[in-house]
Subunit: 268 residues, 2 copies
C-alpha cells in the first residue's frame, strides 16, 4: 500500500465513529475522502487489539474504548470470546464475537477486558478464560481493563506489584491479588493501564489512542466523537454523590463486593 493510499484509508478509519466505513469487522475499506497533508501525525499503524467478551459483561465497559479504537487506522480490533456464539451482556445486549481464544492472535498490542458483576466473577474463575488472559497478557504490549475487569486481570495473576484501579466499589479488592489499589480515572503502571468504573472507559480508551498514535490523532478521534462531556448531574463519584445516592448504591453492591473479596482472598 502506498503512503497516499494509507492516508486515504486512514481517513475512512478515523471517521468510523460517524460510520464512514462499512460493516467489515476489522478491515477498513475504500476511502471516500481525500486526506490533507497532515505533517507528522502517525496516521497508520498495525496494532492487534483483543477485547474480551463474556456473558454478563457490562457493554459500556467494552464500547467506551471501542468507540475510539474502532477509528485506529490499520489496527485490527478483535472481539474475543470462548466461541463465536453471540454473547449477552448484563442488560441483555447480544454481541457477536469476531475471534475465539484459539483464533485470537498470540502477540497482541493491547489485551483488554471489560467488567460487570456476577458475570465478571464467573469469568475470573473460569479456567479457560484465565488461561487465555494469562497467556496473552504475558506477551501483550499493554495489559488493560475498565471497571471490575481488573478483577479478571488480578485473578489471572497479571496485576501483582502493579498499581491499578477498578469500579469504586471493588477497588480495594485488588490488594488481594497483590495489586496496589489506586484511586484515579485512569491508572498506569508500566504496561498495565486500568480504567475506573464503566464510563471511565471513554477516558481510558482515548488515553490509549494518544499512547498508540499521539495526541493529534487522539484529538481527531475526540472531535469526531464530540467527546465534550457535560453531565446533567454531578453524582458520578463517591466524592460528589449525595448521601441519598451513595447509601443505596453501596448497599446494593454489598453482595458483589463480598463475593469479590472472597475471590481475591483465594488468589492472594
Amino acid at each position: 500500500m502506498t503512503e497516499m493510499n494509507r492516508r486515504k484509508v486512514l481517513l475512512l478509519a478515523l471517521s468510523a465513529p460517524l460510520g464512514s466505513y462499512a460493516a467489515a469487522g476489522e478491515q477498513a475499506q475504500e476511502p471516500q475522502h481525500k486526506m490533507p497533508d497532515t505533517g507528522s501525525v502517525h496516521w497508520t499503524g498495525d496494532e492487534q487489539i483483543a477485547m474480551l467478551m463474556y456473558p454478563g459483561m457490562t457493554v459500556m465497559d467494552l464500547m467506551g474504548p471501542h468507540c475510539f479504537w474502532g477509528a485506529l487506522m490499520g489496527a485490527k480490533v478483535f472481539l474475543v470470546a470462548k466461541s463465536l456464539d453471540p454473547v449477552t451482556s448484563d442488560t441483555g445486549v447480544t454481541i457477536t464475537p469476531t475471534a475465539t481464544f484459539e483464533t485470537c492472535p498470540r502477540d497482541l498490542t493491547v489485551l483488554f477486558t471489560p467488567g460487570g458483576t456476577d458475570g465478571t466473577l464467573a469469568a475470573a474463575v473460569d479456567p479457560e478464560t484465565r488461561a487465555f488472559m494469562a497467556d496473552r497478557g504475558a506477551r501483550a504490549k499493554y495489559v488493560t481493563s475498565v471497571c471490575s475487569g481488573s478483577l479478571i486481570l488480578g485473578a489471572a495473576g497479571l496485576l501483582k506489584g502493579y498499581k491499578a484501579t477498578s469500579h469504586w466499589s471493588v477497588r480495594h479488592v485488588l490488594a488481594g491479588f497483590g495489586a496496589i489499589p489506586t484511586d484515579a480515572r485512569v491508572v498506569r503502571d508500566r504496561n498495565r493501564i486500568t480504567g475506573a468504573g464503566v464510563t471511565a472507559g471513554l477516558d481510558f480508551g482515548l488515553s490509549m489512542v494518544g499512547e498508540l498514535r499521539g495526541r493529534t490523532y487522539a484529538e481527531c478521534c475526540q472531535l469526531m466523537s464530540e467527546y465534550d462531556p457535560d453531565p446533567p448531574f454531578h453524582a458520578g463519584s463517591m466524592k460528589t454523590a449525595p448521601p441519598e445516592v451513595k447509601t443505596p448504591m453501596v448497599e446494593m453492591l454489598a453482595g458483589f463486593v463480598k463475593k469479590s473479596e472472597v475471590l481475591a482472598s483465594k488468589k492472594g
Copy 2:
C-alpha cells in the same frame, strides 16, 4: 407484584450497568440485594423504549443512552430493526435485535434513533424505516435521537418546527427538514429531545432518566456507571479543537455533509 417486590427488582435493574442482572433481554430477574427505604424516589416504572438499529449505525450513539436506560427498573427496552437478523455497526460490531418493526409496541414512551454516516442516510430514505419512525413517532411520549440520528427524525417528518441538534458537522442540515438547528449538548423542544454527536448520548441518556424517574434515580445511575468524565484532551468540540484537528475532520466529513444536504433539500 407487591411494592416490596418492586423495590427488590428495582435494585437489580439499577445495578445493571455493573451486571447484576442476567442476560434476559428486557426482563429483570430475581433480585439479590435488599433495598433500603428510599422515601419519595420513583424506583419503578413501565416505560416502553424503542431504540432503532440499522446497518452502519454508530454503536456508541446507541450504547451511550442504553448504558443508563438499561437500569430503568420495570421499563422494557427494545432494540428494534427490520428483522431479527443481527445488525452490524460502522465499526463492525454486530448486535442482535430484540424486536422488529412489526413486533415493537405501537405506543411508546420513548422512540430513539442513533446516527452514523452513509448507513444513516440509507436508513433515512428507506421507506419501511421512515414509515416505522413516522408511525411510532406520531404517538410516542418522547421522540429522540443522538448524533446524526436527527437526520432520520427529520426525514420522517418528525422535526418540523422543532429545535433540534445533531453531530456538529450536519447540525445546519436540519433546517432543510423544517427544524431549527440549535447548538447544545442536549436540545429539548416540547417532546422532541435530541443529543449532539456520538458521546453526547451519555448526557442525553442520563437527562432522559432524570425526566422519566427524577433526579435521585438518575444520580444513582450516574454513580453506578461512575460517570464523572475527565477527558485526557480537550478537542471534543469545534469551539476547543485546534486547527490541525478541525481542518482534517471537516475535510473528511465534507462528502457526508453534502449528501446530507441533498437529502434534506428533497424533504424541505
